[in-house]
Amino acid sequence: MAQAMPKVDVVLVGFGWTGAILAQQLCDAGLSVLALERAAARSTPVNWATTFDQDELRYMWRHHLFQNVKYSTLTFRNNIHQSALPMRHLGSFLPGTGVGGAGIHWNGQIWRWLESDFKLKSHNEARYGKQATAGLTLQDMPVSYQELEPYYDMFDKTCGTSGQAGNLSGAKQTGGNPFEAPRSAPYPTPPLPMTYGPKLFEQAAASMGLHPFPHPAGNLSQEYTNPLGMQLGKCTFCGFCEKFGCGNYSKASPQTTLIPYILTKPNFELRTESEVLKVERTPDGRHATGVTYIDSAGIEHFQPADIVALTAYQLHNVHLMLVSGIGQPYDPATGQGHVGKNYCYQTMGSVDVFFDDKLLNPFIGAGALASVIDDYNGDNFDHSGLGFIGGAYIAGMVTGARPIEMVRVPDGVPKWGLEWKHAAKKYFLRAMGLSVHGSSYPQAGNYLDLDPTYKDQFGRPMLRMTFDFPPNDLKMSQYCTDRAAEIARNMGASSVHAKPRKGPYDITHYQTTHNVGGTMMGESPADSVVNKYSQSWNVANLFVTGAGLYPQNPGYNPTGTLAALAYLTADAIKTKYVKAAGQPLVAA
């Protein structure tokens, strides 16, 4: 029998980016908040100090900060005709674990969606006709860019994002992204300076009439104090950023922007090594009474709360919904049900660029150091006759050059032997990659459900992922990677190797940790799992955050938008829900 704990107003399941955002907002509104985090507390000086952080083997390849699949994994197959098998080693995506979540080892690439990304289905059908979306289960979001803008701005101010605005309240700004939706304020800090590789990209793209701008970065170009009084330092371009913690307090993370503030609040508690197993409900199933969690001693506890918020990573939120029996699981055979539906990813292409006569020194880098163009993203270009919708941003990006991962050799050079060795020596300082960061749109056979065979360490069915790239997205990747290769050739490269994304989806090679969908938001229970405030249609005191809310994934990194949605949720709880506790905020 689970031990009952003292009741709180709000229990948060997971303490990464969205858990920290809700904690700060709801504590400041006077609610008592408890965050349950499945793994340990972590902090900059203890866990990723500059004296030992620059360790590619331990952090990247031995997964020191990532979820350990020995204890928590999922099963995977490409399509419903295969047997799903456990992901026995991490590869394609690297979920976080422990306080700060994946916000510790993210890159800090901070994006907003285009206005049309919020109305993806209706926008594309209006412009290209209904056949343009055939075979894709796209959906519009129930919120607009305009509604979300103040919350995007809050996240930028929390992080101190470095960048150059392209559109300030409708006025175009030189040097920024001309395609972006209007922002109410400039970026809090100026853009990062460019190293040589991104500079060459910028010059080539501009010479072709494209519109390069500095990638918005949570790696700060200068010292910054955020509205909560948290101080961040200036990025030193250490190049151990993506997949590593920042030893320098220069990367925006829950630890640098929110957690020290939250931890001094008397109405906040953080309980570590406490993994939530299930959301508990009243007998009629309409109301969450709290959660059951297990601590590292193996003792189960019942934590009562008036509000339950699933702030675990997208995969874990979907899993918790399914094992708790909340909402109807999606069935691809009938198309019925929404939990697990519209699982999407990110369709990543790339171009390797080699120079015989230029030293790029790519070890000087930062997680979001890039010059980027948005000309081929979303619906920023005419898709008539192209046979696909969606797009990608193309970035001349140098996150660093960790040599196990990033020794690049030209096309045709073998992967080992003397010829490889000579190419590795010749090109390590003279090569870079262009990232083709593409959209991922849903199709009926891509989804998440419970595995019929494999059980996790607590005896629950594992999450099962069924996913392959839709033909639409492969065409998109080919087209956008071809455009990137044109830019590469204009950079004065001696050789160029274009690598559009090809199917089938392979879970072994790192692509991105941008898993989305499965708890999507929508207009009504007939099309979604939660409403625009991320409130469950079935259980009114249950809220769900994260990229699971997306019905599809635009060609941007997810965190800017999921953070903005978390601020919107917090606002709805503070201003609407507390006055109507237990009530749906949107009529079903």
């Binding site: 500059t50 083997l57 300076p193 371009f237 570590t272 601590d295 080992w416 065979t453």
Partner: protein, 246 residues
């Protein structure tokens, strides 16, 4: 000092912090109205030990030394893999957490699976190497008149490695030569290019070959120094590599 609702201190607190990589086992703790600052508990890396082989037997050392030096051969541009210490690296990795499968899910049921589904063996990496190397030894014995891999010509060794890379070398038992080669090449690159603290990349020689200056944390003054050599001395996690004796 930290205010914890459960009394957690000293060794127990250290253990809690070592739970960072999701190894449950540290005590659960409740933090309120406090900052989680602790003294003297830096999560520093553990260096490879010196001395004799920890995991590999003599035949395995023989095979691996020959094979890694075909993957990264000796020549004037830089050390061969074994000269850089890659076999020592592999031994220490296989003897430690990696070899024991500390970050692998190894429960059944087991099925062969598709390549897109990745590693599907029931073996830990250490067991996987042991079985694969023994099966390769048998296959080579049959194809090459009872000879062992290390005694074959370089050309013949290359031909066999190419067959492993494509999976054409058929092995008895559950491990395919392709699955082994994939893991092996990855581990060899890890040994060659990781920090010297782990036993490979001796003296930073592999980094020196490609021009990687190592474990620096601040390149601020070189950000816009375009198209020129960056004159910083190479450093590893134990400091200036020119100073260290290993």
């Amino acid at each position: 000092m930290l205010a914890l609702s459960a009394a957690v201190s000293g060794a127990a607190a250290a253990e809690a912090l070592s739970g960072h990589d999701g190894l449950l086992g540290g005590p659960s703790e409740t933090l309120t109205n406090t900052l989680p600052w602790r003294d003297g508990l830096a999560d520093a890396p553990e260096a490879a030990s010196a001395g004799n082989w920890r995991y590999l037997n003599g035949a395995e050392v023989g095979f691996l030394t020959a094979a890694v030096d075909r993957l990264i051969p000796a020549d004037p541009t830089g050390p061969s893999a074994s000269e850089a210490g890659v076999v020592v690296f592999l031994d220490r990795q296989l003897a430690g957490d990696y070899g024991n499968g500390a970050h692998f899910y190894l429960q059944g049921p087991w099925q062969k699976g598709d390549t897109t589904q990745g590693y599907q063996s029931r073996f830990t990496p250490a067991q996987f190497y042991r079985h694969a190397i023994s099966a390769i030894g048998q296959a080579v014995g049959k194809s090459d008149n009872g000879k062992v891999f290390k005694d074959l010509s370089a050309d013949r060794q290359d031909a066999l490695l190419k067959q492993m890379e494509t999976g054409d070398l058929k092995l008895d038992g559950p491990i395919t030569s392709k699955a082994f080669f994939t893991m092996f090449l990855q581990n060899v690159l890890e040994g060659y290019f990781s920090d010297p603290i782990y036993g490979g990349n001796k003296g930073g020689a592999a980094w020196a070959m490609i021009g990687f200056p190592g474990a620096h944390y601040d390149y601020s003054e070189w950000v816009t120094a375009y198209n020129q050599r960056i004159p910083v001395p190479m450093v590893g996690l134990r400091g200036r590599l020119a100073w260290s004796r290993s």
